[in-house]
Symmetry: C2
Amino acid sequence: MTNIKDVAAMAGVSASTVSRVLSGKSYVNAQTRQRVLEAVKQMDYSPNVLAKSLKMGRSNTIALMVPSIQNLIFPDITRGVEDTARKNGFTVVLCNTDEDVEIEKSYINKLKKRWIDGFIVCSMMPGSDHIRVLRDEGFPLVVVSRCSKEDHLDAVIVDNYQAAYNAVNYLIRTGHRRIALALGREEVILYRERCEGYLAALRDNHIPVEENLIMRETNGNNSFYYLTKSMLAGDSWPDAIFATSDPKAIVILHALHDMGVRIPEDISVLGFDNVYMSALVEPPLSTVAQPLYEMGVVAATKLINQIKFKDQTGLLPAPAVDILNTDLVIRKSTR
Amino acid sequence: MTNIKDVAAMAGVSASTVSRVLSGKSYVNAQTRQRVLEAVKQMDYSPNVLAKSLKMGRSNTIALMVPSIQNLIFPDITRGVEDTARKNGFTVVLCNTDEDVEIEKSYINKLKKRWIDGFIVCSMMPGSDHIRVLRDEGFPLVVVSRCSKEDHLDAVIVDNYQAAYNAVNYLIRTGHRRIALALGREEVILYRERCEGYLAALRDNHIPVEENLIMRETNGNNSFYYLTKSMLAGDSWPDAIFATSDPKAIVILHALHDMGVRIPEDISVLGFDNVYMSALVEPPLSTVAQPLYEMGVVAATKLINQIKFKDQTGLLPAPAVDILNTDLVIRKSTR
DNA sequence: ATGAAAGCGCTAACAG
DNA sequence: CTGTTAGCGCTTTCAT
């Protein structure tokens, strides 16, 4: 593998000169510059990134931490991140954490030692101080999806409260009264916010909250299969179910089909996310669309900006929260 | 960030001694060993991976190249790869290539310069010589899913021909005669093999091949929406559709629902892959199951073995093809 | 405008 | 058993 010295030798200059023409940060005589460029081309030389990183303390690598790439919302976000990273010369390391603090910590420690340039994390939890400190330690960091107001962190999110409020309001406006909620783990802030939107919409429409219409996740999305069945085993059915994520909604659709319930005639189902599959299930799922791919793009862009800013000033820019728009898309699962 | 010299100073030894106790490759006096270990713990030291990589020519990083993580089969494979990599101290760089040769090449070039330890590629095509040469150049390489007999490469695949043959045979045995085929791009070897299995099953059962029952992908999986509709617009319907992948089958289900076709009463649908979603669509999809997660695990294991072998001998081991078992899982989309 | 030299943090001969 | 030295490939003062 040809290195900078080989090129220097061929061009009859020193390694520093080669470095200079390649970096373009310093003036080099036009003639020697040409000779160097030629040698580079001849030998098909490109610099050893590792050596460069070691010297510069910059690796052009970013980490993307997700709970699991198998969860339908993360492939889209990931794609947005990766496309943006690639276009900017960055490489992305994928970390599945299963929201396990130990795995997260061990990844973080390992990556720090690799001079990782920054972190995008989609697995933030209230107790995730090991993540919050990253910024204090000087690491560029952007949090996606899950972020509470108190966190003084760069983030890209949607207004979960308002989106859920609007969604439930829509359900009410279209004649639903007994609206069940499929609620994800409440430690996850976005589920809590979506729940609050649901509650507020009911309240503002003078509809009483019925505790037995609230299904709480016990053990992954599949728990809603059983929760739905047991809710419907009771005597009073809901006329709609608002699911706090599309994967949950899809499981609920499945349970409903199994029970012979007609959708939306008997029960409407409304999801949240608009993952790609939502349009393809039967009936096509009405849902609150988040711009998942774009969230990835924005997150990566913000992170790269932080990195560049830090390059120049040695400091991190003040954090800013980007709130992206949601969109209620009505398909066939609601009447 | 504390380095090996700091530790050495604290323990009152030289850097090499610290290196030695940490690598464990050389005997060190038990006492000094203790002092070093203590210093390491005190300072919470862990080595700089970059420097180590530069020195050793090994980065403990592997690349995973997929067409797109948004395709439902890749999250599972990816998860298998990543879990296995992590357990073995490797980090994975995710590369979405859209099967674009230029993107693949640019990734490969970049990663080589990073001393990437090896490649797992899921986007192999007949013309992918830029990938095949990787092995010749000494890079550990394992190909997943797409691999032709002539390639003298490490690979993990399933027997697509036989699996498709069995699947179509099942359809015939259960009373279907006019079996349509939803065929993916024929450059992709696995689709060609699945097609051949389909053809052979028909032939062996003395069922004539009807060219107008073969739908050929034109523009992504969604093209099967229109292909299905236009096939059914003709006068003679199939009584079953065999899709060469689950994402295609799911699109077909969607088209069929749109047209009011009953599944499986009017038409049976059989997929291939058994992605997670298959069990959740309506009706739950009968399909040929590939062990996707396991394929990722096996691929990563094979790659890591190659890497270790190369470490010790300087050579790559002889390539071997692992053929994993498929399984016909019958759910509700076939009668 | 260019070269020499130092050093990023680590490991591996080579001495002793 | 341990320290000294050199060097992985690059960038960046500091001289010239």
